[in-house]
Symmetry: none
Amino acid sequence: VGPPIFTADRLYDTTPPGVAMGLAWTSMGGAALYIESILENALSSNSHPGLERTGSLKSVMKESASVAYSFSKGLIARDFPKNRFFEHAKIHLHCPEGATPKDGPSAGITMATSLLSLALNRRLDPTIAMTGELTVTGKVLRIGGLREKTVAARRAGAKMVIFPADNLSDWLELPENIKEGIEGKPVSWYHEVFDLVFPNIDREASNKVW
Amino acid sequence: VGPPIFTADRLYDTTPPGVAMGLAWTSMGGAALYIESILENALSSNSHPGLERTGSLKSVMKESASVAYSFSKGLIARDFPKNRFFEHAKIHLHCPEGATPKDGPSAGITMATSLLSLALNRRLDPTIAMTGELTVTGKVLRIGGLREKTVAARRAGAKMVIFPADNLSDWLELPENIKEGIEGKPVSWYHEVFDLVFPNIDREASNKVW
Amino acid sequence: VGPPIFTADRLYDTTPPGVAMGLAWTSMGGAALYIESILENALSSNSHPGLERTGSLKSVMKESASVAYSFSKGLIARDFPKNRFFEHAKIHLHCPEGATPKDGPSAGITMATSLLSLALNRRLDPTIAMTGELTVTGKVLRIGGLREKTVAARRAGAKMVIFPADNLSDWLELPENIKEGIEGKPVSWYHEVFDLVFPNIDREASNKVW
């Protein structure tokens, strides 16, 4: 308690399935914002699904997690129909650091990525950072603070930043020294994020994960 | 984070089933207000129905979604008795942008249209925009800001604006240059909206959707 | 958005079963206050009963709806024992307009009438307006604003106003020009309302409605 302290620019060197690197924009500048999802219980045919959300999330960010959860369930049902993960998974989604209040919708694609990483049991590349509001149909909407977020992404060791195509003009206006070493990837729909974060996915194997 | 920015006048070029274009009236003028509904789970004979609502909706708009949901269930039960969609569908209705607080009853007919589009598995024409309070029996009631909403509809590429017949005098008083290229359709009951947004519906096929 | 506007003095020309015309008394004068009840689901032997209430109802009016619901269930069980409507009906009771906060107990008899109209599948005469607090045993209690309500009833096309017998002195003191063309009907118990709004009811047929 007291003012938020961003000590760890990069929380993870390698990430377990369920962890995705987002980017926050605060009055103190940008910061890496990790989203962590884990299974609360062992999966079984009679375990009940659900989503618990922690990390001092305020109302918009809580709703954003619900949107990401519904979207992710729909994506798996449609694209991986034999993957029954979400039918039985009680999931806990947490955003460190626990004492830092967080709000806003711009972690939407990060939360969906975290949930899908868990559902598909695939680790993410820890050098990919992302920011973007997600709608429940998978559209990716404009965010604020791309400059500060890009600075934070570099500091956290990111080599790729995924951002909304609606922010492309912001990206193009960024000084080259800020973008150096960072590949910018504008996206309009979540399926473009999916292809970047889960390349070469083996759909047969993913169907059988759970 | 910061004031809401309506950058994307038009969010969708083509829309999946479940997405309908409404119109909002804010202190900053009119804006396209999309309503998105998706299925949270694969439908099955033992899936439980329900409606989740997100998008920083305040109490009147939340109730408006409940009214639209009850009305839509009744319409399907009466007119498409073999369509069992609502008996098993867990639906998530979201209104982007997530950080913009929204209130008021005037998205009623848009929410019903979004839900029915999903239930009937029919895409909507993305150039149709609509505004109107809906009562639970299907009556369409007067709204405010038709002028600002019409301006927003044009900016978003709409070619038809559906509005309450109680607002017909407002429509007739609008300058021609604002209405240019827009067909205005006054309605008193939802069934008139239905005939405009779902023309030539194959009732046999719609009965069999789910 | 803006102050509530009561433009439509009369919402319905003919009313479906479940719609009853009440009368509200606000700081701006009287107004027609419709109560609409619909079935949320098709009735079946395993559908679960319930009452959902919307329309920006405050706590006293919400409780008033619960009283009307319990009373109506009791009336049907006693007088129409073979009518199983309330055992399986999931009902949605709504009071347009959705953005206008409403409170007070004086819509009690209107809410009971709306629910019974649905249970008996009988349309009401759209020229009958009513106001009166209802107790759970069927007693009709005094209300306020009979003068303003009578003015509103006329404006909405009513030809009969049902009011509590406790308000008879208020009625008698009203100037003749206000009451012109309106038949005043004082009632002490709900069964008197019933006989006025459901005349010549075929008890055998009503027993078999559901």
